[in-house]
Symmetry: C2
Subunit: 445 residues, 2 copies
């Protein structure tokens, strides 16, 4: 469609920008329901809302971005400041905590559900503007590893309640692989090796081997690394195998110890063991993760990639002298999930609009319809009055298209007899009733 | 505060950008409550959510912007498109309706609560990033004037329920003043004259006279205009006076007729007459308004300016051959109101966080605390577990600071006796109870 300009004759495309998901009303209602379900779950765990601007100083974003993200930042030039649109919610959160640390109570649990922006090349499942639903908890000086398990528990609870079918949170600890690489004397190559291992789920072991080869690792080293990250089995088995390797490296030991604690705590939290699995190929791309890392996959569609990722960051919030503010958090990319979840039938467009009752006045005096509408609204029943003077058929047609379950007709007869004609749009049943009966019918359904 | 960069030694300011309102948790909770109250009211009138991106094509925004707004647009240059951040929600809505008109049901009632961006010079009450809460209804071909009254009724309902004290919606119709200027043969000067009259509330009649003088109007013309827009009294009086002027101009007559209809309909809707008032100085700055226009003022602080404005636009959504999509809507600038409303005591920071219960385990096994937390959450009681091992005093201190009303302590004794120690943080009362009593205590309060 096109847009006519006011002063010029030019017409403009009204399509949403490429890479932006623009929803029709029924999908928007479904999307918002999912969003508020997530919000309620986050709040039920004691997380409180945060809502920062999408605008940040460019230098703040660049300070913590790194890698490919930097290329994807939308930059704005206006006035004195170099501004940019946030590409995640973690960095603005880190800035917020640094700025307001004296006014916050720790442990500080927050959630933020907001749009983030990445100037990526649009492709299936990748958006330039998408909702992230983040939870994070940060501590003053220290933060128990049990919070790592709490975050994973929240992910488990969220996806269970969203009814998306079987899924699994794959968990590792960065120190384990880092320590292992140190024990091979490969600490200098660790950043590159980690970045390659991170691609395992996407590109498979053979391609990973090719990429490692380019890093000029010896065949032995490659084999050792690939064997190491392929350790599989039940969580207990994997932990036992890792322990049996007897790797004499403190980083490794500390990572393994942390992983054991997190796994134990998940059991305390009664997260069913099908839903979390140690996987040493999980490393996460971003530099700021320092310990626990995790990604979440649909069991029946791993091709969708991780649907919720996160981890622990010990130093992201550095910057106040010696004050240490460690944190752990996760982000769920809601927009990216909406279309595939809809395709799989995991989300259904809302059949009904939010309106429960359409009031149709056949009289010009709107007093009686208006009083009824107010009464219904005060009872929590969303009600609209059809205000255009068009044929009855058109009004009922509107109610049908919107799937509004009840129509209340008010004409001269109804005014004279102090009654209302109510039509159940699903059954077609129509009856003339007094106000108290009307309220009863509309409240019950 | 400052932010340390990862790789460089540089420190960066972590302050929010100038002109951006960044809230602490207690204010954020209050802000969000106000936002969802407004959302519920909008939905109760049958308005459904819309949520477009903050990114738009620059040319779409420029097509309908005009005036000072153009200078305030944040522009982004990336890839093939010239992008910009929306400066209101009306133009993106117009684009959306143009694009999706075939898939929408009319009358289409929507609300959108979202951030908009204006690169203004920051000053009291002006923000660069602020929430707008918009409602709009658009029709296919025609849209009854009764919707103009409905929108004003929603404004009345919203501010009444927000408890902000006495306020008044000042209403006019652009055709009245335009027709009057035509009758004076000043139609060519109308845009300038309207823009000057629009400043009346801000700068007063004397300054308006000065500005009109610069437009080279004769003293007679100025007097006529100023006398005209100063017509005051009850709504009935003003309408009677306007009718008695016997101005033989079709635009004027049609505007007056529309105004009468809107005023009558507001009476049908039972909006108390103290809350709406005809005021011919109301013209609205934006070019797209074509009929009814209105602004809302606090009776006890008109200096705050309009707190909610809008009007009817017949041609904003032009662009599909001959299809006409008239609309009427209003926008409430939430961010701008938050600070002055808080200063006036109309909004209070939330004393309590959203969490109702803090569970404090004195044991290392988290099974029992976790089962309790899950039980409480499933009953709609937000609960958090204190997971750090710190002295008891610190835990209670946290509960106090967050104003969490209940603390439940679980130690060895409680596990052995299958009980819970619950402490009411307001009264200090502490008791050891079984699970069913605990649920009763926590649900009741």
């Amino acid at each position: 469609m096109f847009f006519k300009m006011f002063r010029q004759k030019k017409t403009l495309s009204t399509r949403a920008l490429q890479g932006i998901l623009e929803l029709l009303p029924k999908d928007q209602i479904a999307f918002d329901k999912m969003k508020s379900k997530i919000q309620n779950i986050y709040e039920s765990f004691g997380y409180i809302p945060l809502d920062t601007s999408v605008l940040e100083r460019e230098e703040i974003l660049l300070a913590k971005a790194g890698g490919d993200t930097e290329k994807e930042i939308y930059r704005i030039k206006k006035g004195d400041n170099d501004l940019a649109l946030r590409f995640d919610l973690t960095i603005p959160f880190a800035r917020y905590v640094c700025e307001h640390s004296r006014e916050l109570n720790f442990p500080f649990r927050k959630y933020q559900i907001g749009r983030v922006y990445r100037g990526e090349r649009p492709q299936r499942g990748r958006y330039r503007d998408f909702y992230q639903c983040d939870i994070d908890v940060v501590g003053d000086g220290e933060l128990s590893l049990k919070y790592d398990a709490e975050i994973i528990n929240i992910i488990y609870t969220t996806f269970s309640k969203l009814n998306i079918g079987p899924f699994v949170v794959k968990i590792s600890n960065r120190k384990i692989l880092n320590g292992f690489l140190e024990s091979l004397n490969l600490q200098d190559r660790a950043p590159y090796v980690l970045r390659i291992i991170d691609k395992m789920a996407k590109i498979g072991a053979d391609k990973v081997r090719e990429l490692l080869q380019k890093e000029k690792l010896s065949v032995d080293q490659m084999n050792e690394i690939l064997d190491f990250v392929s350790v599989a089995g039940t969580n207990l088995n994997v932990l036992a195998k890792l322990q049996s390797l007897n790797i004499e490296n403190d980083t490794f030991k500390s990572g393994l110890d942390e992983l054991v604690q997190v796994i134990n705590c998940l059991e305390d939290f009664d997260v069913p063991s099908d839903y979390f699995k140690i996987d040493l190929t999980i490393v996460r791309g971003l530099d700021y993760y320092s310990g626990t890392v995790f990604e979440t996959f649909l069991v029946e569609d791993t091709g969708l990639g991780s649907i919720c990722s996160g981890g622990r960051y010990e130093t992201l919030l550095s910057g106040f002298g010696d004050r240490k503010i460690p944190g752990v958090g996760a982000g769920l990319g809601l927009t990216r999930l909406f279309v595939p979840f809809k395709e799989k039938g995991l989300i259904k467009s809302e059949e009904k609009t939010l309106t429960r009752v359409l009031i149709v006045p056949l009289i010009s005096d709107l007093k009686k319809p208006s009083i009824l509408a107010r009464g219904l609204r005060s009872r929590g029943i969303n009600s609209e009055i059809f205000l255009d003077e068009v044929p009855m058929k058109k009004k009922l047609n509107y109610a049908n298209k919107q799937a509004i379950p009840f129509v209340v007709i008010i004409g001269d007869d109804e005014v004279a007899t102090d009654t209302f004609t109510v039509k159940n749009m699903n059954t077609g049943e129509q009856q003339r009733v007094a106000l108290d009966s009307l309220y009863r019918i509309l409240s019950a359904n």
